[in-house]
Structures are given as C-alpha cells and as structure tokens.
C-alpha cells in the first residue's frame, strides 16, 4: 500500500455510482455493513472503508484491495444499509473495473476462478465442473488443494465425467459474444 493516498477528483465516485446504479455518496459511515460482514476479519478494508475510498477517489486503493475479492456477495450489507446503498453491487462494480483496468491483483484466485467458470459456460452452456476445476487449478497453481475430495466425489456421483449436453450451448456462445461487445462499448 502506498504511504500517501493519491486522491483524484470526483470522477471515480461518479463512475462507480453510474456503473453500480447505487448512491455510494449517501454513505454516512455508520459501519453497519462492516459489522455484519461475514468475511470482515479477513479483509484489508472493511466494506464501509471501501465506500469511503470511493468517496475519496482513492481508485488505486479500492481496485487493488483484497476486500473486493473476499466479498462473498451475501448481501447482508445491502440488506441492512440505512441509506439503501447496494454495497454488494458496488463490490461487483469494483471487481469489474479492476479487471477492465488490468490492475495487478493482490489475490488473483477469485478472478481466475470466475474466468474458468465462465469459459466452461461459454463452451458447454452449463458448468462442466471437472473441466472448470482443471482449468482453475492450472491458472492458479493450486494443483493439490482438494485433490483428497476427488475420489469420494467420483464415487458419490458428484463430479460428472462428461459435460452435460442438454444446454443450448450455441445460444450461450452468441450471448457471451454480444455481452462482451456491450461491456466494451460501456467501459
């Protein structure tokens, strides 16, 4: 973390508000989101602190934070916010902006998992877990984590050996292509 935060003008706040569709500027720092957050103790910035970073225009601190990738999207924060800020939605926006701006992530596991997951859906229409997990392991380098679970999952029929062929895979591919074009034109 830099010793001195480089604050910009209100451009960052405006962009986050526009993309998330939620009034981050209304945050009055009551910290209700942070006290209810299940992963607060693992975060570098608590959710209310992330909101404050957005106010301050501390773009680099917000987009480089571990917090946005530890957020489990449980929406306890959004449910309890007295100012009706969709805090979990802001976390989504910050993750998307971090990828768009090719920030060097302090912890890339979340992004590696998400892209392995989406490639599986793009290709098969549905998640093919065996293929998705193999890709995630190669990307993340976590080759041995959870390998002890595989034999039991196979015996219990919890990991399919072949992708499901029931999904409208060609339809899904068109949607992925067009959605990427939409994102490019909006960011």
């Amino acid at each position: 973390m830099a010793d001195t935060m480089q604050w910009n003008d209100t451009g960052f706040l405006e962009e986050v508000q526009q993309r998330s569709g939620t009034p981050v500027s209304a945050c009055l720092q009551c910290h209700k989101c942070s006290t209810g957050c299940p992963v607060g103790q693992e975060m570098d910035y608590l959710p209310s602190q992330v909101m404050r970073l957005v106010h301050l225009g501390a773009e680099s601190e917000a987009l480089n934070s571990r917090a946005i990738w530890l957020c489990a999207s449980c929406a306890a924060c959004s449910t309890r916010c007295p100012m009706e800020i969709d805090v979990a939605g802001v976390m989504d926006t910050l993750r998307i902006m971090a990828i768009d701006r090719q920030v060097a992530l302090p912890d890339a596991h979340g992004q590696q998992f998400n892209s392995s997951f989406l490639r599986s859906v793009r290709w098969h229409g549905r998640v093919f877990e065996m293929g998705m997990l193999a890709e995630y392991k190669l990307r993340s380098g976590d080759l041995f984590a959870d390998m002890d679970k595989v034999p039991q999952m196979l015996t219990k029929g919890k990991l399919a050996l072949l992708p499901s062929d029931g999904g409208d895979a060609s339809g899904a591919r068109v949607i992925f292509k067009r959605a990427e074009e939409e994102e490019k034109s909006s960011s």
Binding site: C74, T79, A172
Partner: protein
C-alpha cells in the same frame, strides 16, 4: 399446479441428490415439473463479478424460454434464484438494462415470468395443510436447525418470500414433518458460498461457526435449500473441524430429503447416500410415527 423447472448446474453434479429429492417430493405431492428445454447456466457469481451485461442476459435467455412454455419458473438453487429474480428486477425497473438484455439475447422480454424457489412453492403455493395431509411417516422429536444462508432471503427487494433476518418457511416445513425446528441465531449467516474453492480457509471458519451454533442450540442435523450451503457444511465439515476444533458429526440434508422421508419415500429415492456425513445412524435412531 405446474412449473417450468430450472434445476441449475449444481443439480447436475454436486447436488444431484437435491435434484432427485425435489423431483420425488413434487411427484409425491402430484405437482408437475417440466424442465425448461435447453436451459443454460445463470452465470452465478462469476458473471455478476465480471460482466454486468452477461449477468442479466444469461438469466433473461432462460426466462424467455420459460415464457414460451407459459408457466411460472421454479428453481432449487439459491444462487440461480437470486440471479433470475435480479434479472427480472433490472428488466422491470431499468429501461436501459432491459434494452441491453434484449439486444444481447436478440429477443424481447418484459420481466413478467414469475420466479419461485422450491421453499416458496412448497410453503406459500402448495401450502402446509396440503403437505401435512400427505405425511405418512412423521418424525417425533428429531431436532433440526433450518439454515437459509444468504441468497434465499436477501436482498429483500429481490428475494421476497420470507423475512430477510428471521425467515420461517423452512422451519415451518420441518415442523410439518413432525421434527422439531430449533431456534438458533445464525440461520441467515453466510457460509462463504462461492469462496469454497478460492478461499477455502474462510469457508471452513464460517462453516465451523455455523455447525457449532447449530449444535449449541440442540440440533442433531441441519437442513438446507441451497447447493452451496450443503457442500460447504457437509463436504468441508471434516476440514472445518480439523482446523477449528472437534464437533459431533452433523448430517446436512436438503429440506426435500427430510420432507421426502416424511412423505414415505425411501432414502434411496431421495439420494441420501450422496451425503459425505451420513444421516443413516441418526435416521435409524429417530422415532417415527406411522400414519395410515
């Protein structure tokens, strides 16, 4: 009563027993489920963390398929439920999101297809009286913690069928089976959901907290209605107790498995062999009252 069924990807793999038991329970209740032909993944957390347009278009693509069937949608997965309902909410309230979803899917959509979760259908549409009349093997004294997790009740403008902080639908279903729902404070705390692979240590900590509290409240087992809650509490239970302290092994069943047993279905018909922490010993010892 008939529903367009959106099982979701988990129900084809880690949660095949949720799929089997949901279909078996609905057959036993004489309610027809028709799978949405060619359904695709809702995009889940991966999509809403990566591409806002995709996160709405994938659910809308499925809702358009359901609209052609002329039926309300029922889904079993809490994440699918959240994504389908969020897409409807955006299409209904944000014209720009609707226009974008229509451009991406190539078809019109007005946000009007109703989306329900299994719990919502069972309690609010089928009704507890109807279910109770079909119970043939009522439990007696089995103590059960109903665990809702996050997305079944949150955020309340999306998931609107129960109270976001103190839901009761699953507890009421447990009571209908004759089992005893325990009152406990963590029923809507998050299990870590999609962090299961990327931040396993966090999921083990959260799972251990949940299981300890369920035990402290007197529960002998936990029921869930979400594939991620089940995996995180069941398959990761041994890792959680190894990292954070010994607990009695606690079976984590789907609500449809517990309900199915009370409706007279066999363990095999409900896929109970899929559990990592077996429920067999608990069920063998549980008192049951047979009804004619």
């Amino acid at each position: 009563m008939k529903y367009a069924f959106f099982p979701g990807c988990s129900l084809e793999s880690t949660a095949w027993d949720f799929d089997l038991s949901t279909r078996a329970v609905f057959r036993a209740l004489d309610i027809e489920l028709q799978d949405i032909p060619g359904w695709v993944c809702c995009g889940s957390t991966a999509a809403h963390s990566s591409n806002a347009s995709l996160s709405v278009a994938l659910p809308v693509f499925n809702l358009q398929k359901a609209q052609a069937m002329g039926l309300p949608v029922m889904t079993a997965c809490a994440s699918c439920y959240g994504r389908l309902r969020t897409a409807n909410h955006k299409v209904l309230h944000t014209p720009a999101d609707r226009a974008e979803a229509e451009r991406v899917t190539g078809h019109p959509y007005d946000g009007s297809v109703a989306v329900h979760h299994v719990l919502d259908v069972l309690v609010n549409q089928v009704g507890l009286d109807y279910i109770q009349a079909k119970i043939s093997r009522a439990f007696s004294g089995l103590k059960v913690a109903s665990y809702y997790g996050c997305l079944l009740t949150r955020p309340p403008e999306i998931a609107a069928f129960d109270n976001p902080e103190h839901p009761m639908t699953m507890d009421n279903l447990v009571a209908a089976t004759g089992a005893q729902p325990v009152d406990w404070p963590y029923k809507t705390e998050c299990c870590g959901a999609g962090l299961s692979m990327t931040h396993t240590e966090v999921v083990c900590r959260l799972g251990h907290r949940l299981l300890s509290m369920a035990r402290e409240a007197g529960a002998e087992c936990v029921v869930v209605a979400c594939p991620m809650c089940q995996v995180n509490l069941d398959m990761r239970q041994a890792d959680a107790t190894k990292a954070h302290g010994v607990l009695p092994a606690t079976p984590v069943m789907y609500i449809t498995q517990l309900l199915g047993l009370a409706l007279g279905l066999s363990r095999k018909e409900l896929g109970l062999e899929a559990l990592t922490v077996s429920a067999d010993a608990l069920l063998d010892s549980a008192a049951v009252k047979e009804k004619a």
